[in-house]
C-alpha cells in the first residue's frame, strides 16, 4: 500500500537549503561586524549607546568575544543543517532506517550540545559586561528546551541505530 505523498519533505528540503546559505551569510555578517567594530571602536561605542562615564574597553572585549563565539556557531549550524538535509533525502528515498542516519543524528546531538555550551558562555559574558548604565539583554544562557533537544536527539540516534538493525534483520528474513 503506498502512502499519500506529503508536502512536508519537499518544503523541509528547500527550507534547509535556504538555511544553509543564510547561516553562512550570518557568519560573514558577524565576522564583518567584529572587524568593523574593532577598526572603528569609537564609532561602534557611540552606535550601541555606551554612556560616556562607562569604561568602553571591557564592553568592547566582551562584545568581541560574544561575536567570535557567534561565528563559532556557524560551522556547528552547518553540520546540523547538512546532516538533516541528507536525512530528508533518505526519507524521500523511502529508506530512513539506515546506520548512516543514526551516525548523523549522533553528530547533530553533539553539535546541539556544543551550541548549548556556547550559548551558556555567551550568556555569562553578557551578564559580566552588563551594568545599570549599560544594560545588555541577550537571548543566550541556560535553556531547558535546548538541553531537552540535546537529550532527545541522542535518544533518537539510538532509536535509529536499533531501527537500522531491525531493518537489516527484516531484509534478511524470508
Amino acid at each position: 500500500m503506498s502512502r499519500p505523498k506529503s508536502a512536508a519533505l519537499p518544503i523541509a528540503y528547500v527550507v534547509l537549503r535556504i538555511l544553509v546559505i543564510l547561516n553562512w551569510l550570518y557568519g560573514a555578517a558577524v565576522l564583518g561586524l567584529v572587524i568593523f567594530a574593532n577598526s572603528y571602536p569609537a564609532w561602534f561605542m557611540k552606535a550601541i549607546d555606551v554612556p560616556a562615564g562607562v569604561d568602553p574597553k571591557p564592553i568592547m572585549i566582551g562584545l568581541t568575544a560574544i561575536a567570535t563565539l557567534g561565528v563559532l556557531a556557524v560551522p556547528l549550524n552547518h553540520l546540523i543543517l547538512t546532516r538533516l538535509l541528507r536525512m530528508v533525502e533518505t526519507v524521500s528515498r523511502g529508506d530512513p532506517f539506515i546506520k548512516a542516519n543514526a551516525y548523523r543524528l549522533n553528530a547533530i546531538a553533539w553539535a546541539l550540545l556544543a551550541l548549548q555550551v556556547l550559548s551558556m558562555v555567551i550568556g555569562t559574558i553578557g551578564k559580566a559586561i552588563a551594568s545599570k548604565e549599560f544594560p545588555l539583554h541577550l537571548d543566550a544562557g541556560f535553556s531547558v528546551s535546548g538541553w531537552l533537544a540535546v537529550i532527545l536527539t541522542f535518544v533518537l540516534a539510538r532509536v535509529f541505530a536499533e531501527g537500522a538493525l531491525m531493518r537489516e534483520d527484516l531484509e534478511g528474513t524470508v
Partner: protein, 68 residues
C-alpha cells in the same frame, strides 16, 4: 552460518526447479534464492510451512545444524 539450508538437495530429489517451487509456495524467486544460497538471516514459520507442504518434507529435512 552453523545452520545449513538443504533446499538444493530437496529440489534435486524431487526433480523440481526453484521457479516451480516459487510458484507453488507463493514466495518470490529472489527470496527462495536467498534461502537456497544460505544468505537468509531468518526464516518465517509461514515460509517453512509452505516449503514443507510443497516438498512434502519435515523442517528437519530442510535445515541442518552443522557444529563449528
Amino acid at each position: 552460518m552453523a545452520i545449513a539450508v538443504k533446499l538444493d538437495d530437496l529440489l534435486h530429489e524431487r526433480r523440481m526447479t526453484l521457479t516451480e517451487l516459487a510458484s507453488q509456495v507463493d514466495i518470490t524467486l529472489a527470496n527462495l534464492s536467498i534461502l537456497k544460497t544460505g544468505k537468509a538471516r531468518a526464516i518465517r514459520f509461514s515460509t517453512l510451512e509452505a516449503i514443507c507442504e510443497a516438498l512434502n518434507c519435515q523442517p528437519g529435512d530442510l535445515l541442518e545444524f552443522e557444529p563449528g
